[in-house]
Symmetry: C2
Subunit: 473 residues, 2 copies
Amino acid sequence: MSEIKDITSRDTDFAKWYTDVVTKAKLVDYSSVKGSMIILPYGYAIWEEMQKVLDKMFKETGHENVQMPMFIPESLLKVEKDHVAGFAPEVAWVTEGGKDKLDERLCVRPTSEVLFCDYYKKIIKSYRDLPKLYNQWCTIVRWEKTTRPFLRSREILWQEGHTMHATKEEAMNETLKMFKVYETFQREYLAIPVITGKKTEKEKFAGAIATYSIEAMMYDGVALQNGTSHYFGDNFAKAFGITYLNKDNKQVTPFQTSWGVSTRMIGALIMVHSDDRGLVIPPKIAPFKAIIIPINDSEIVNNAVLEIEDLLKSGGVTYKIDNSNKTPGFKFAEAEVKGYPVRIEVGPRDLEKGNVTIVRRDTLEKIECAKDNILVKLEEILEKMQQEMYDKALKRRDSMIYVANNYDEFREIANNKPGFIKTNWCGNLECENKIKDDFSMKSRCIIDDEEVTGPCVCCGKEAKYRLYFGKQY
Amino acid sequence: MSEIKDITSRDTDFAKWYTDVVTKAKLVDYSSVKGSMIILPYGYAIWEEMQKVLDKMFKETGHENVQMPMFIPESLLKVEKDHVAGFAPEVAWVTEGGKDKLDERLCVRPTSEVLFCDYYKKIIKSYRDLPKLYNQWCTIVRWEKTTRPFLRSREILWQEGHTMHATKEEAMNETLKMFKVYETFQREYLAIPVITGKKTEKEKFAGAIATYSIEAMMYDGVALQNGTSHYFGDNFAKAFGITYLNKDNKQVTPFQTSWGVSTRMIGALIMVHSDDRGLVIPPKIAPFKAIIIPINDSEIVNNAVLEIEDLLKSGGVTYKIDNSNKTPGFKFAEAEVKGYPVRIEVGPRDLEKGNVTIVRRDTLEKIECAKDNILVKLEEILEKMQQEMYDKALKRRDSMIYVANNYDEFREIANNKPGFIKTNWCGNLECENKIKDDFSMKSRCIIDDEEVTGPCVCCGKEAKYRLYFGKQY
């Protein structure tokens, strides 16, 4: 079967395995535009499923969708100093429009804080205008030198929420609320047990006061930052001169947040769950829950397939069907590459007993099922599969989190064991930088539910924080 | 009431009226990025409704969504000569990425034919690979000098379908099928009675063999091209060197189409249906079908509002509610500006009889309705309203189509009567150009269901076509 799929083993070469899976499953393809990828129908369908669920969650939490310009005049990008310093090195500049040279360069948005601020300045005048809870779905551009499908690309499909609030507390609540929405989504739909927490000063977003991050651990122990929610305080608002008249008739400055997730989540989905046979997609986010595979072209099989299709349609179960004249073995292998949560094998021998065979993609477990009972059985299987995929990922993640009490232990783990390292930190940039230089590991996030006792793992002075460190994509 | 709404009368100054409506109804706002607009939540919600319906229609006709790069290298744009000639003058050029000057300019896609061709060249090898039926939802950029919300903008939200087929016939069928999908959508959902037909050589899309256009007549008699479907034959395929092995084992060239509609349709929606009180939106495309307006803050009213909300929710009727402490008159006026298809006035006097008052936005007709029967009544009203809005628009359109048998008649109509002119044409570019120069009227499309007899309206030679002429946005 391996000739058909031709996927490198993930334990042999994880990077090659990843590229094989995204291309063989036809999620993306390379374009002749350097650094930009093409998202193919199956990859885009996964993104549409993610959008559907998230958009509903955003609307249920009171947010509205808008569409801002995609261009940012250079002068506007420069209004907030930290922000421009962080983003200017990695933007694409439009300098000519039609046949004319532009008076001012425009960058293609790398993120839209300044566009929202510019607009909020115009429309926020009174406490009655707050909060403003806007989101947009769009493409952003970051001029990356090296790119990898879904993980690092010049063009990124994402959503970005940008909100303004009357008080610090309200803005901080919003930051944490959307952070929680992301965590819930990734846990319940993507079956990814994420680690969540505040970023250090060094790792926070350019211009933010605090960045809260969703950190997912991939199969190879490397972290993928899979969503962030930022609290800006009044940094941008002050830089942009946004003020409003509060209830006491005073001009005051509002407080701001932004939060975003992107098609990067598809990369996480793959690197957490998939295997050497190809994609494995959690049922709740799979664009097609099942693939029906007729074992031969006999009348009894074809009739049963029609009946099953009717049942799936009536139950709202999305499915594909493989009616090609390939061999069953070939069809199975292809279905495995694509990662449909289950395949339904419809063959004459099973049908004699009124049965079909359902095969779970994650475990490859074969389950006999009475044809007429297929809807009930599928619901049961898909629900169980969703839970077990999460449990499995959680177990693996936890087995790859290590504790380092001193620098020797840190070195020993960092050099030998892929995964995250939990450790104490004094809070000084020098120590964080030293660990980065020595082990190519960045701090992932601050752990806020464990007591901090003992010395900093690096300098030995008193620790102020407990942190996760890890390599990252 | 006019102080509240402050909308210019459409019969006094149609252009000003349009701008007033789109801004007062909060569909769009101007940004400080020249030429780009901000689509506000209510405007974006209308676009989401359009997307939802169209995306379903596209998928039901076998199309799949993908996402291509947003940048086109200059050399790629230049592959098809007519295409580059048509688009190069109006594109935005990225010339710098990060801190580096690019070796080759990239334009932000003005349309994506060349990107799809470049990819199709890579993946189409055999007749088994055909047809390819891809669509994408994205933003395109055209460097317009003068812009108007939804009608002409530097950034346009749209969809573009790009398909490849084994035969001419199949490609032409696709062109006409999607043309029909657009016409159906605009008739059934937007309640716009469009005029459809083939464009003349002069007016067709740059690089196409034939362009089929959806032409809508606005309230002021001016045309809005509201969707196009193109047949390319093998023009692009040859320029890009796309070939495939057919069933007879020969290398042959496939045939291509593309088709697109954009947020321009929101402009059409407004300019066909809206009035001096603001927006009027056909129920089937309205993001919120109703607005509930409590007449006062009494317990009986508040309880009735809760009951009505429960009923609407149970019936899946989307709604807004105006719980502000403004006067009822003010709320009515605001609801009219926003164009919710109906408002539900919940007042104590009606409630004594167990009733509420439903007011249709298009006719302002007041309808008494038993509170408990509201779902049934609403369904009846909204369906009737959808039909009557279409009928009214059709009647107005037909009353503004004139026939010109000679140039004097043409001049008389063109100078005095806004609308479309039906006339005979010899097929020569000179005559088409002369009419454009004399009356600023372009040919809209060729009429294919009327016999052509008599001379060309311009030169007097034998006519080959019957055409619509009209001014355009």
